[in-house]
């Protein structure tokens, strides 16, 4: 080939964030250095933390894994460390820091250094709280190549509870992350593979926080299908073009400047717009995933029991693995009570998919919202649902329930008691603003 046939490569791109040197980092070398974990589709049995760790390891863009242990997320870093320790020639490294705050700080520096690599960690509860100062910075940073896997566990140490409720993730709604809930090992694995596609999209550039319930999802085994690394890479490549903005290594740039109130709001508006753009892109990423791998991809929620058209008597809104118990008893309970009952298990927590939730719930005569985390008022999800329904000509009554706080069992009897509250509301009974349910009754 004549050298004149080669289009001249721009050496330098000037972007609003500074100059970017095109050829300084050769990502293809990083890709080539990746040692695939799987070359063909493989079926294993794994717990949730292992599923998340394998997904993290299969991405060639993940080269450094910063971490700090905390129950119930610890097995994620242990699994990654075991792989790195037993794989000669892998370019991957584990980075053990002195605290979660340092992990989050480290991810800022690393993700800013190279915006085309993905930096992922896993944490829980007070570990996430300990990161807070920096997660708030990260959320606003434009560093969509950061992913914090949040293994849900009750926050607060008075009293200390190491089991899974989503109070940690719900306390971080305003950090600026895209928060996605997964239930089931397969969904955990698939979500970790898709989340950075959304976060690193040039219109979004927002870090992601996929999460799943501690113990109930993190520690229990189930069947899991693993995809070949090459197929994962090809899927992600469709969503992850090299970042158009300069990083610390391949650019002349300044991150994290300070501003006065006169300018601060402008930055915040841009941050909010990027976050909201995720609402448009998430279904597209999910659809592409489904086309590629034949399993449902990212979605706003899992919908069960909704007829094609028309109303349902009672809609249940919740999230996490306990929704599975509701799914199992829904049909029988509905038949027994002569009612139609449908449900939404929320998958996208932040930004909350208001419009999509409204379109579903406007078809319900009453809505039962099941919250699983301590809240100062009627429940985080309840407020989100109320906000989504706001403005409808007829707003269905919302029954607000709490169950499973601190990872407590949400038994069939508890579900039946909560559904019964929904039924009573439908029958015109006035219920208290919220009720806490446990072992089949309202406390």
């Amino acid at each position: 080939m004549n050298s004149r046939d080669v289009a001249p490569q721009p050496l330098l791109n000037i972007t609003p964030s500074g100059a970017r040197y095109e050829s300084v980092i050769d990502l293809e070398r990083a890709r080539a250095a990746h040692l695939p974990l799987h070359t063909e589709r493989t079926e294993i049995t794994a717990d949730g933390n292992t599923a998340a760790a394998i997904a993290s390891l299969q991405m060639w863009r993940c080269m450094i894994y910063p971490g700090f242990p905390i129950t119930p997320s610890t097995k994620w870093i242990e699994t990654v460390a075991a792989y790195v320790a037993s794989t000669p020639g892998t370019p991957k490294r584990v980075k053990l820091l002195e605290a979660e705050h340092a992990v989050a700080d480290y991810m800022v520096g690393a993700a800013a250094a190279c915006r085309d690599l993905i930096f992922v960690t896993a944490t829980s509860s007070v570990g996430l709280d300990h990161m807070t100062e920096t997660t708030r910075s990260l959320g606003a940073s434009g560093l969509g190549n950061v992913m914090i896997i949040n293994v849900y566990r009750a926050t607060a140490n008075f009293p200390l509870c190491i089991e899974g409720d989503p109070s940690d993730t719900l306390a971080h709604r305003d950090d600026g992350f895209i928060q996605i809930v997964a239930r089931g090992k397969q969904q955990i694995y698939d979500t970790v593979l898709q989340a950075p596609c959304l976060g690193m999209h040039p219109d979004v550039l927002t870090p992601t926080m996929p999460g799943y319930y501690g113990i109930k999802s993190s520690h229990r085994n189930a069947r899991l299908v693993l995809e070949p690394d090459a197929a994962i890479g090809a899927f992600q490549d469709r969503w992850m073009a090299p970042c158009p903005l300069p990083g610390l290594i391949n650019g002349d740039t300044a991150f994290g400047n300070c501003v006065t109130s006169r300018y601060f709001q402008g930055f915040k508006v841009a941050q909010k717009r990027r976050l909201e753009r995720a609402l448009e892109l998430l279904p597209q990423v999910g659809a592409d995933f489904e086309r590629t791998f034949g399993r449902p991809g990212l979605a706003f929620f899992d919908a069960v029991g909704w007829p094609e058209k028309g109303e349902v008597d009672l809609a249940v809104v919740s999230m996490g693995p306990d929704f599975g118990t509701f799914e199992a008893l829904r049909d029988a309970w509905a038949r027994e009570h002569g009612m139609s009952v449908a449900g939404l298990a929320i998958r996208l927590l932040t930004p909350f998919p208001r419009e999509a939730v409204r379109e579903k719930l406007r078809r319900a005569r009453a809505v039962l919202v099941v919250n699983q985390a301590h809240h100062a008022g009627r429940g985080h999800l309840t407020l989100d649902v109320a906000d989504a329904l706001n403005g409808l000509p007829v707003v269905p009554p919302i029954v607000s329930a709490f169950a499973g706080i601190g990872g407590a069992d949400v038994s069939e009897a508890t579900w039946e008691a909560m559904l019964d509250s929904g039924r009573r509301s439908l029958a015109g009974e006035t219920l208290p603003p919220y009720q806490v349910f446990h072992e089949g009754r309202s406390l």
Binding site: M63, R93, M107, G109, A113, T253, A254, N257
Partner: protein
């Protein structure tokens, strides 16, 4: 390594446009370090929340950093800077170093990168001591420059763990009951050595040649270099215009912050600050130039000499005792080889 004169002609990455106080030692340190890092290697700075940060990275003011208008093929002139939170500059720098190493390891990055973390003494010794020591402990190949102005200057001159005893700060105000800061400074030099740094220095840019040489050496090391830079602060120390360098030299010579350079395996030495107090300038000379010690010393109208205020003699003696301890401690640290 280039000579001092040659370094002075280098293109500093510290540019016009900062709003640091005129006479701030931090700008002298930035200017010198900025020149030293113009050595053909891509430079990345991380900086904690501090005067140095808010005065150089304020939007929409110009960013007071960068290396001018070098053409793109001169990647060695490329410069980037990042601020995250108050305490995180060392951790960020370590991360940048690791990413460049991992990319280099797989052949994805062929050009070298040098990484410098900059913190104030509040960022390094108070809120960020854990991060500072752990990054040193992990032997990260970075240079850390800690600007020690003995205050949280950015937030209004509050006490920091580097404050000289009896200094007046806004949270240890000198009053009739309490004569300013009653706490001895943290032994940060020793801590950095014990944590595992390969080079530890306390040196002011007022010692131009040695400062440049120490910085050059720091950047060339395989391990962590920690350079503490005593940084007279015109607004907080409250001295007159034009006295910054004089105070920096006097403070070093009288034993408040002696110049000290130590390398693992070789040991170190105190420079320009004799062990014997009688051979050093009197601390009163240093104290008398600053109004943060005005409750402690005054100028004798007749002789012009600085002396303890009436009733403050014991405090001054106490301070003199700490200064001697400080000098002897650094001499002793210099004896350590590793």
């Amino acid at each position: 390594m280039s000579g001092y004169k040659e370094t002075a002609t280098h293109d500093s990455c510290f540019r016009p446009g900062s709003t640091l106080c005129p006479g701030c030692m931090e700008s002298v340190a930035f200017q010198n370090l900025g020149r030293v890092t113009d050595n053909g290697v891509k430079t990345i700075f991380t900086i904690g929340t501090s005067c140095g940060e808010v005065s150089t990275l304020a939007y929409p003011n110009v960013v007071a950093w960068g290396r001018g208008d070098a053409p793109p093929e001169m990647f060695g002139k490329s410069f980037s800077i990042i601020h995250n939170v108050f305490e995180s500059a060392p951790t960020l720098a370590e991360a940048v170093r690791d990413v460049s190493d991992v990319l280099t390891g797989c052949g994805a990055l062929e050009r070298p990168v040098q990484v410098v973390a900059m913190s104030g003494d509040g960022g390094a010794f108070a809120i960020g001591l854990r991060g500072l020591l752990h990054t040193i402990y992990r032997r990260s190949r970075i240079t850390m420059m800690v600007l020690v102005n003995e205050f949280f200057a950015n937030t209004g001159f509050q006490y920091s763990p580097a404050a000289t005893p009896f200094s007046d700060t806004s949270t240890t105000p000198a009053g009739k009951a309490i004569p300013g800061n009653m706490q001895k400074p943290l032994d940060y030099v020793h801590l950095a050595m014990a944590a595992g740094a390969d080079l530890v220095a306390q040196i002011s840019p007022a010692y131009g040649k040695l400062f440049v040489k120490t910085m050059e050496k720091s950047l060339s090391l395989k391990g962590t270099a920690v350079v503490f830079v005593p940084a007279p602060c015109i607004s907080g120390w409250k001295y007159d215009d034009g006295q910054t360098l004089e105070l920096a030299l006097l403070g070093a010579r009288c034993g408040i912050f002696p110049t000290f350079v130590w390398e693992r395996g070789q040991g170190g030495s105190v420079k320009d600050c004799p062990r014997e107090a009688t051979e050093r300038p009197r601390i009163e000379e240093f104290l008398g130039m600053q109004r943060r010690f005005a409750h402690l010393v005054e100028r004798d109208r007749e002789t012009g000499a600085i002396r303890a205020r009436a009733g403050q003699e014991a405090h001054l003696e106490n301070l003199r005792g700490w200064v001697q301890e400080n000098v002897e401690r650094l001499y002793a640290l210099g004896e350590l080889k590793k």
